[in-house]
């Protein structure tokens, strides 16, 4: 097989893996959008916050250490213990639930029935708040996250493809783990939404929250639950991205990457988020590979947006989204 084609295949495979990671973030968006009609811009920052908290707990960092030191002139940074990954994940999840409760109690409850664009801007504010809060709590230096996920070249794929095609594909173990986790997560979420009592209640709230309220569904409970589930997805995405590229501010920018994914796949569809993620992942890698060198490279910054923009003009609801019907 010609070398170029093999390269292209490797790029495509890597693009698929990157797409899975985008889809992970996009999933969190879809969940909140389906259940409350809120486009949650803060999802990316939630992933960053979750990852920061996880690292902080594992390392035994003192929360708000810098702030306390600045106010009281003390010199405390660490408790001096290390928490195993699994326990730290559980504690982080509890913090994310508390966060979900706080968001609902202090922000979203007061904005019920507002226009979607107002809610969107509120979540931008929330994103800023959470970003400052996370940095204040754990410090803004780049941290390493290691919860024991396998990393590095997968030698089995490398050897097999080398023997079969004469060219070894480079595929990261972490990406494979991420794909498996994403697949499990999607299945779990679909089962949860379709077959459990809470899931049905969630879909009822999404359909019409006043009608849901009148048949005895607690809106507060459902909204806190939805934000908690989104927090859980953010935690998973934070672990994956944090293990891949370190826990740092740029992690929150993956939210921006997830936006075109959503626009392609449709805001209301869980499978759409996955397919959209794969299209964006493969598309931007292939575009960078084929056309990038001709026009100066680094096309990954904008390719997804322009693709989504062009796509939206022809199909505003996305590939799998519900048709947008406007009533007067």
């Amino acid at each position: 097989m010609p070398e170029q084609l093999l390269f292209a295949m490797e790029v495509t495979l890597n693009g698929l893996m990157a797409g899975v990671l985008y889809a992970l973030v996009a999933l969190g968006f879809v969940l909140i959008f389906k259940a409350s009609g809120i486009f949650n811009y803060a999802q990316g920052v939630m992933a960053l916050f979750a990852a920061l908290t996880l690292v902080g707990i594992m390392e035994g960092q003192v929360p708000f250490g810098h702030l306390i030191n600045a106010i009281f002139g003390t010199e405390i940074h660490h408790f001096g213990w290390h928490v195993p990954g699994l326990i730290a994940i559980v504690i982080t999840m509890m913090i994310m639930v508390a966060l979900a409760w706080a968001v609902n109690q202090f922000v979203m409850r007061h904005l019920v029935n507002q226009e979607p664009i107002i809610l969107f801007m509120a979540t931008i504010g929330l994103a800023y708040f959470l970003e400052g809060f996370g940095d204040l709590m754990w410090g803004s230096d780049i941290k390493n996250l290691d919860v024991g996920l396998p990393q590095g070249l997968n030698s089995w794929i490398d050897e097999t493809t080398f023997n079969a095609l004469g060219y070894g594909f480079f595929i990261d173990n972490l990406d494979i783990v991420a794909s498996v986790v994403a697949a499990l997560l999607v299945v779990a979420l679909v089962v949860f939404a379709q077959y459990t009592k809470q899931g049905r209640a969630m879909r009822a709230v999404a359909d019409d929250h006043q009608a849901a309220l009148s048949v005895g569904i607690s809106l507060n409970f459902i909204w806190v639950m939805v934000w908690s589930v989104a927090g859980f997805v953010a935690l998973v995405a934070g672990i994956m991205w944090g293990s891949k590229s370190g826990v740092q501010f740029s992690l929150s920018l993956i939210a921006l990457k997830a936006l075109p994914v959503l626009m392609l796949g449709g805001f209301t569809s869980i499978p759409g988020a996955i397919v959209g993620g794969l299209i964006v992942g493969v598309g931007e890698k292939l575009f960078e590979f084929a056309i990038g060198p001709m026009i100066g490279g680094a096309t990954e910054n904008w390719f997804a947006y322009v693709l989504a923009l062009v796509f939206l003009v022809f199909r505003p609801q996305g590939l799998f989204g519900d048709k947008i019907i406007e009533r007067v």
Partner: protein, 358 residues
């Protein structure tokens, strides 16, 4: 007792529909203009110009521009930073290609070029709405910044990839470059701001502005009563981008002097200007000023108190700043969706009746 409209009789329709119908408002307006044009240039120094006044004036122009699009026409844009970059690079190319033409003309032309680009990226607004459009404008933001970073023609193939403003004079006084005095820079920006505010005010109370507001309030109803959505949305994009472009051009040429596009006109700038109009007040000209002043002053204030007063580290103050900013956005959206402008209106209403309760 102090703020009264009694005895101020209107005898013509023209009097009745003026911008400041109350006499004391009018006097206040002239007084502020006089102070801004005459008193401030006499006392201005380098610190005040570069830390507070110049950014305030330039951001106020950008906020006015975004307010036309978002506040008056209801189309949210997250591409403000990208459009400011268009203004800056257009101004740079014009300044270096036609050095003999006045910089004031270049700034206005840069606004015109930005308006064309804005219309181009505004075209999808006919098909998509709300936050779909907001996300679509992100395409403009990222694509434009990438373009100015990668295509050498835009920065005249300079080795650093930066653009820096050559020295230009207006009636013999240096406006750009290292020898320009703060007073001159201030006056140039102030003139542009006053002219922009005057134009926006008169556009928004005419037929164009009414069409924008009709589209904002309900686009389908507006279309049924005969407002052309294509024309209204695209004019809003054009006018908005025009002012955003002017602010970008001034930001680069007069304020900073040298610009690296990704750093100065990144996505953060888009959010900053959006925050200004949310905090200041959507659909209000006073709100654009108030929001710009607030967002410019907040970091200066926090820095002086926390770093200067309490001796904290600067990064700590920066984290606290974005936290407060985010908290304020949410608070304003919940408690006062019309922003500082509405607070101002309410307090004026109270002042008219004071000290009587009714």
């Amino acid at each position: 007792m102090l703020y009264r409209e009694a005895g101020d009789f209107k005898t013509s329709y023209k009097d009745d529909s003026q911008t400041f119908p109350i006499q004391m408002d009018r006097w206040g307006y002239y007084a502020i203009l006089a102070i801004a044009f005459i008193a401030v240039p006499l006392v201005i120094n380098d610190y005040w110009a570069s830390a507070v006044l110049l950014p305030f004036l330039i951001y106020a122009i950008a906020a006015l521009g975004l307010n036309v699009l978002t506040g008056f026409c209801g189309q949210v844009s997250l591409g403000t930073g990208g459009f400011m970059a268009v203004g800056a690079y257009a101004c740079y190319k014009l300044m270096t290609t036609f050095p003999e033409v006045s910089i004031l003309v270049h700034v206005v032309l840069a606004g015109g070029i930005t308006a064309l680009v804005g219309v181009l990226f505004g075209l999808p607004s006919l098909r998509i709405k709300g936050f779909y459009l907001a996300v679509a404008t992100l395409a403009a933001q990222f694509f434009l910044v990438w373009l100015f970073n990668k295509v050498g023609w835009f920065y005249n193939y300079s080795a650093s990839g930066q653009i820096s403003a050559p020295e230009r004079t207006v009636i013999g006084l240096a406006v750009t470059g290292p020898v320009a005095t703060p007073a001159v820079k201030y006056l140039v920006c102030l003139s542009f701001l006053v002219a922009s505010a005057w134009i926006v005010r008169n556009l928004t109370r005419g037929s164009v502005g009414r069409k924008w507001m009709a589209i904002r309030d309900m686009d389908i109803a507006a279309e049924i009563i005969g407002v052309n959505p294509l024309a209204s949305k695209l004019t809003a994009f054009a006018v908005s981008s025009f002012f955003v472009g002017i602010s970008g051009a001034l930001f680069f040429s007069v304020y900073l002097g040298a610009v690296e596009v990704g750093e100065v006109f990144g996505i953060q700038k888009s959010f900053l200007v959006l925050f200004m109009i949310i905090i200041g007040g959507l659909g209000s000209i006073f709100g654009s000023f108030a929001g710009a002043a607030f967002i410019v002053l907040l970091p200066v204030f926090l820095k002086n108190v926390l770093v200067g007063g309490l001796g904290w580290a600067t990064d700590l103050a920066a984290h606290l700043e974005i936290m407060i900013l985010g908290g304020l956005i949410v608070t304003f959206l919940i408690l006062e969706p019309h922003g500082l402008a509405q607070l101002w209106r309410v307090s004026k209403e109270k002042l008219r009746l004071w000290p009587f309760p009714h």
